[in-house]
Symmetry: C2
Subunit: 175 residues, 2 copies
DNA sequence: GGAATCGTCTGTGCTGCATCAACCATTTAT
DNA sequence: ATAAATGGTTGATGCAGCACAGACGATTCC
């Protein structure tokens, strides 16, 4: 901190690039705190945090080949198989062979899957309250929107997926 | 999603609570992506992601007993010891006995530690570019500020720690 | 003096995950 | 048509993060 001030020196009022503001460690820290709480909350629903991540990605991304899924989640394909097996056994997802390329399995969220995901998210309210307690509602919504955009890499889904259901959503400005 | 619309029914224009917007899974997802990239970038510096988290917390929190650290990081005390041993061996932190309660070890970031942390954060620029590529500079700064506030649990440090060095920081509105 | 607290060290075991190897179904190239 | 490449599946192996438990020294509080 003082280092930075020292470097700025004669121009301490300028918004100079703030190179040290890396979110990585904070992301890691908060994700851990959230995950620890999520585990116990999710257990009764037969889910674990990683399932939620996969379901969330599937909801956002639409139909996805599972190799593409491996890329998005940055997991090894072989581990994707096991993960999807668990989700398919609970009928939260479906694997269909792609009509275009029948080698490919297209993974899709089932109606049950979407419902279960929704339930899980509701159940996580208290966990989020503990971890994000320092942020008010609008700030959390901003956070969600930023994370969501970063995760999908595009803002295409934003208008359709988010804004329809929430009049206060800030993403209209951003979109 | 449709469930919520159904629930809203006659008042679909109201900004009702958006219960499904949970950040947990997104946090998890992005933290993972960031961590995978961080590992290789940090290795030459002799650090691992968890070290960075600890150093970041220490920088933000000032002098901290290591039991308090265990609480903040939500790690077992015994694992904290090992983590701190590694950092102390590299002289990035110091353990001093607290003058008030000499049972307690107060953990403090050394000058070298602050410097190394700063270097690491610079080195992580490209990793962050990949993961947060969908966000522009101002959005990343907003994200950092939100995560930072959530992590420290208070907004006390905000004015001192962040805003002095960055004129464009949005936290003035929030503070 | 005795009990409780903070930190340290050691060992044990579970879990997540990467990696390797072998295999089937399907598509693409020759 | 045959061979090669691709997507997916399965099983085995090994490492690392981490929780947990037990024992110990140092210090404080009653």
């Amino acid at each position: 901190m003082f280092l930075q001030i020292g470097r700025l020196g004669h121009m301490s009022a300028q918004p100079l690039d703030s190179a040290e503001h890396r979110s990585g460690a904070l992301l890691d820290h908060l994700a851990r705190r959230m995950r620890l709480r999520s585990e116990s909350v999710l257990a009764p629903l037969g889910l674990r945090p990683r399932h939620l991540v996969a379901l969330t990605v599937l909801r956002a991304g639409g139909d996805t080949g599972q190799q593409a899924l491996a890329t998005i989640l940055e997991m090894d394909s072989t581990n994707i198989v096991g993960l999807l097996n668990e989700l398919e056994a609970k009928q939260l997802i479906e694997r269909r062979r792609s009509p275009e390329d029948r080698r490919r399995h297209v993974v899709e969220l089932t109606k049950d899957g979407a419902k279960r995901l929704s339930e899980a998210e509701c159940a996580l309210a208290s966990a989020e309250d503990e971890v994000l307690g320092a942020l008010d509602h609008a700030e959390r919504e901003t956070l969600y929107e930023l994370l969501s955009r970063a995760a999908t890499g595009t803002s295409i889904n934003c208008a359709e997926t988010i804004c329809v259901t929430n009049d206060a959503c800030r993403c209209r400005d951003a979109c």
